[in-house]
């Protein structure tokens, strides 16, 4: 009887502790620090000369980005979410890679390449990057900044799909095998916002509106000339 009483207390306390731990994970108080570190890493990379495996991307017409898994390579801004809303985009979209913020879905295109640049992020945790993704409307702007360029996209559609509907990742979404002519961006997160598993994903697709050269923090121009999307 005494053993049962102790076991009941222990399981009750452990249960409360786990609930508190869940709250801590959902709150994610260190997300801002992780994001700050990623931004620092990104600006450090941008300040470095090109690597041997990364030819001088700012001298060609299309960036040849080959970022390492989990490494940041771009910044995403969505003005509708606030002036200060800014996240790095890391390479890869596994749970580990999304723990720091948005991630590029490996296998989809990069900014500057014809096709579909897909970015996924959590709705809650990891800075709640895409918590309000569903609020985006047609025409809202999405800006992606890489080492050389600033890509401005305009939202053109929004829909909810089943989590196995990977056709949204095709270079021409929903049309596998079709040769892409446009440069698109696809943003992905779970919906509805819930602490439980949800099989639904909200998909926001935008098309490229303009590309301009990135002006570096020291006032220099990272790219020799701006250009319109092809």
């Amino acid at each position: 009887m005494r053993v049962l009483r102790v076991l009941a207390w222990v399981s009750g306390l452990a249960g409360c502790a786990l609930l508190l731990f869940t709250g801590f994970l959902a709150w994610d108080p260190v997300a801002a620090q992780r994001q700050h570190a990623l931004i620092g890493d990104l600006y450090h990379q941008w300040g470095q000369p090109a690597q041997v495996s990364q030819p001088n991307r700012c001298s060609g017409s299309v960036p040849q980005v080959r970022p390492a898994r989990g490494k940041p390579f771009a910044l995403i801004r969505i003005p509708k979410f606030g002036v200060g809303w800014k996240f790095t985009i890391v390479e890869g979209a596994t749970l580990a890679q999304l723990s720091g913020g948005p991630g590029h879905v490996t296998g989809t295109q990069f900014p500057g390449q014809p096709g579909n640049f897909a970015v996924a992020a959590h709705d809650i945790t990891a800075g709640n990057a895409f918590l309000h993704l569903g609020d985006l409307r047609r025409g809202d702007r999405i800006t992606v900044t890489t080492k050389c360029d600033v890509y401005r996209y305009a939202v053109q559609s929004k829909r909810v799909v089943w989590y196995t509907d990977i056709a949204v990742l095709d270079p021409v979404p929903g049309q596998p095998g079709k040769h892409p002519r446009k440069q698109l961006i696809t943003l992905i997160t779970c919906t509805p916002v819930t602490l439980a598993f949800t099989p639904y994903r909200i998909i926001v697709t935008g098309h490229l509106v303009s590309v301009t050269q990135r002006v570096s923090a020291v006032g220099g121009v990272a790219r020799a000339s701006g250009r319109r999307p092809s």
Partner: protein, 41 residues
């Protein structure tokens, strides 16, 4: 690509909440059972 699925972007910590709730329910059931046993003594 990701096992034929779109990336998992939901909250992955929900498993801890489920286990926690189970433990609390187990503790409550245990306490209730002990109380009932005490009533019949």
């Amino acid at each position: 690509m990701y096992g034929g699925q779109l990336p998992t972007t939901g909250f992955s910590g929900v498993i801890y909440a489920v286990i926690g709730l189970c433990l609390i329910v187990a503790a409550a059931v245990s306490a209730g059972a002990r109380w009932l046993l005490g009533q019949f003594r």
